[in-house]
Symmetry: D2
């Protein structure tokens, strides 16, 4: 059994990790820390876990965490980087669900996150935890940077086109929509039911923190810097991301459906739907799947990819468990056989 610790378990990615890990056949949940809720039974905060998770939140303690085989950080940005070096030194492997190790350029990271990186020397070692791209590196990683939610949906959708050199990598457009849980469990007016319900808007169109992360991944795939316009929007619902991706063809498209099916033929958590399909976010609700379709409207020069994930699962906790499975030599699908909750 893998001994697992979670730092910062009171947010949505934390409770989602607990939902997945509590039923994972190879995991023993050893510790879950929260400074604000220390002493409280986890199931008192999250009644859905009653009968499944019996432990209480504890004060963050390096000693307790050092006894774990792996520690997940489900903390706000900027916390993990302060504790990771010590844990790695103690032989603990780490999966950070926040952004601390996602951007390889420390200065770029600081520009977007507003603080200086406290352990830039680890950035080169950290493996970006998108298994469809970095599976082998993840297996041996000590430190995995779990991708952001938007970056997961957007990169998986663009990658087959970019690798095939079919589209102009300088004029990519990602029109992305996320449910309100993406904003986290924070007391803020903007995501109140009475603010975010029954309404729709774009936000962060001037520049969103996931922009450099997506560009970094696509640049790696393209072999040259890409140009991306990324506009996120807030959906009046709880879970789900839908990325609508637009690329300009620079070669004859050929059989796009076959291209996508081949690209993901062996991927357990990417599902290319039949031609003409429109994936719905609910089809992946609660599950670790990225479901997508590719369209060439009116046979024109623009290719459209529709890519959906559950932002808390394939966009966060589920992908983190997938990474853990890889790191510990388990079946990549262990604990992740979940069918989307529809309706």
């Amino acid at each position: 059994m893998i001994k697992v610790g979670i730092v910062g378990g009171t947010g949505y990615t934390g409770v989602e990790l607990l939902r997945l890990l509590a039923l994972h056949p190879e995991v023993e949940l050893t510790a879950i820390t929260s400074r604000s809720e220390a002493g409280l039974a986890v199931s008192a905060l999250y009644p859905n876990l009653r009968g499944h998770v019996d432990i209480a939140f504890t004060e963050p303690s390096t000693q307790v965490l050092s006894a774990c085989d792996v520690v997940f950080f489900a903390t706000p940005n900027g916390i993990a980087m302060q504790q990771v070096p010590e844990l790695l030194a103690a032989g603990v492997r780490v999966i950070d669900l926040a952004a601390d190790f996602r951007i390889q350029d420390a200065q770029e990271w600081s520009r977007w996150y507003g603080v200086t990186h406290s352990c830039p020397e680890l950035l080169a070692e950290a493996v970006y935890g998108l298994p469809e791209v970095n599976r082998e590196a993840i297996k041996n990683a000590r430190l995995v940077a779990n991708p952001g939610c938007y970056p997961t949906a957007v990169q998986l959708g663009f990658l087959p086109l970019i690798k095939a050199g079919l589209i102009d990598a300088d004029t990519l457009i990602a029109d992305a929509k996320s449910g309100a849980s993406g904003a986290g469990r924070k007391a803020e007016i903007g995501t109140l039911m009475a603010e975010a319900g029954e309404s729709f808007k774009a936000y962060g169109s001037g520049g969103h923190r996931h922009l450099p992360e997506i560009k970094q991944g696509l640049t790696d795939a393209a072999g040259a810097p890409v140009g991306l316009t990324f506009v996120p929007h807030l959906l009046p619902m709880i879970r789900g991301i839908h990325a609508t991706l637009y690329g300009r063809l620079i070669k004859p498209a050929g059989d796009l459906q076959a291209l996508f099916e081949a690209a993901y033929a062996n991927e357990p958590f990417v599902d290319v739907m039949p031609a003409g399909s429109h994936p719905e976010t609910r089809s992946v609700r609660g599950g670790n799947m990225c479901r997508m379709a590719v369209v060439q409207p009116q046979g024109g020069d623009t290719v459209v990819v529709l890519s959906v994930i559950d932002n808390l699962v394939k966009g966060a906790a589920g992908q983190a468990v997938q990474n853990m499975n890889l790191m510990f030599g388990l079946d990549e699908r262990a604990g992740l056989s979940i069918i989307g909750l529809l309706p």
Copy 2:
């Protein structure tokens, strides 16, 4: 492995049965019938099942169904009663998720359902599939009448009070609220998003079909006819029932919390929350749990029970699987270890 057939698998209870049975460790899904969708892959109608359910809908056929160990009817009311006798004769056990065998009095049934019962001789044999009441009888049943969604939430909430003789059984009030999936997957104006969303109303206050079912169950428990005012309401959401139950104390209440905890101490799928709790429907979303709390406001003469279920799980497909587990000697919880999807 238990060979399972499903009749009428295109509705919400059908897809929910598929979600649960596809991951059930002891089940082999043998056939799923639909007159309207015969030939269509199940996963084409329900993309969440892609990769988990590989079979197609078939024409209803007694021959195919007769090869099953158990057949679930997820059909509209009035269909199962026409096919059940033949299947029972062929040695197949049956769980009916519709209402055909829930009311033991055939005339009463006809009054509420508008047709004559086609096999009233089976009503006495049919076991009402509420495991918390009829566990032993279910184990040996050939034919189980799976309870309605409202009746499950309401009966489980009232039963400890009625069995203890604490409340006036003649003035029971059940103010119940259901998500829109309770209306089924039918093309109707009343449950359109633009009709049922962002609004709330009562319906059927003059008399709802679940009224006689609830009264029958509570009458059995009380040992005398009960009086019940039952007002259902439509919630602007998809899944979940919340029953708010009111009873007039006719004796000193004593320790109500202890009464409820004792009543359900050994029940795997009833969870009595700590005193002062308010169960949320989302805490049971997708799971087979009935979660409840009991309150005595201002220490007065009125007891209030708050009881929540997922109408498609403990209120339909999950309870049906729980019944199947009992009928076939499996662990009652097999295939039902699901944590509610929160948020």
Copy 3:
């Protein structure tokens, strides 16, 4: 033109007052104060008001407010009582949308609101602003206590039955459901979209601040103390209250429909629907109507009243404008001819 000031205009009752007053033919909006947003254009906070409201928030100032004919307090509880005496002394009339003057017994008020009342001597003078009960007194009032949202829907529903002496006033039950805007525009986790959406729960079942307010009003009508069980619930939607009211008949019911129609025959903002109707909250969305229906299920001893309002309009800002109209001798309906936004 009536010169109007609003204190505390950044919350939902504030913006709703602005929506109504901006189009009111007899009103000149003179000042709107907010300590936190002073200097900000109102329409910068509420873009729906762009082109309709041109003023900015100002610091609260007795001098500015004293130049008004009437001042609305849309502040948290406990603020108005500190400023009202000074304004009354300056000849300004006041309508308080908070709870400071709703309870006539200062000690009872303190018990529920947790602070000592700072001007108990005004409680006797304050008129409870439910026009259907106190129309004449409101016309001459200097100080109107605008009713709470739940109390409006519950009292209007119960009053015809209680005045007629038809029901046992000692065992009243009010099962009430409110949209999330009732919690106000406050940064709190409990009413986040991801917490309150797609779920339903009761809250405050042990005792809610609107309980003494409702009991006070019904006691006045009954001529003797009433007993009330009041259970509020949170709906996964933004606007609307639905109160489902239960009373035990102590006399033959007679023609309940006629009783209700007669009770409200001359009321511009109470609409008794035809027998057999189920009012929907959306039918009053954005409008000042209280719409209701009365039912006697199965002809039994329990009467059920279904009563809906928009909590921000008839339950707050609309009723406040209705009171202002009465106080200033205008047509009671001025500025309130609004058709509910359906769908």
Copy 4:
């Protein structure tokens, strides 16, 4: 007073016309027809209209409609074209809210709508009712083709850029999202609450009927055929369209904010928000406004316009009333001074 008739008043555009016309100071509602609901009081179908609309649905009758000054068709596509010639001959002016007269090329129309046009000779005369483009022509029109909802939001957003020749008109992208009321009040499974709620998807990406309408309007503005990729999506809410528009700059952008503000400086129903704003659909809920913002992310080559409307108001009934006001020499804003319902 203008005598107004409505054909097909049972759908959402019909009830929305009634909401607006019932309070319009210059309108006398003469007739509203519905074959299916003839004889039923309008307010029995739409209780929000109780007390405001007293007439009943009548059988469609040329005689009755001929007595009107103007007739609105709120019918399914293909109905108006059968009745319009007779009404025009009788001197009645017509505003068609369906698509029958929107496309000037009859063959193109037939390709998208699947039937032969029955009065192609009227297509040249019909005026496309987008006041911001065709105000003068609308004033004198006998027959106005009221624009579609998506086309209104998309064209108003693109027009300033196209007229200024700033963007490549051959690679336009419109990523548009609509609430479920856009699908109309039809008994269909796809827009059930349990299907469309809490989920998000694209649809019609292969080709949507609003595509040729948008292209026609933008082609007129550009003076040459435009290329447009149009992907509509279904939002889990009731009212509102948000169009996110992408254009490739072919010249230095200059001051985009000033360009947009100048373009719509005199328009009563287009509101250009300050730089950096993100319009929310709720800010126009129930109102006739198109609210927009323009962004140039990272100062790059892609311009983004965010354009929101209420699909039932500026996208349908409100724009129709605006057109009526123009046709009859009224203040263009008559009956349309409505503040968006927020929250």
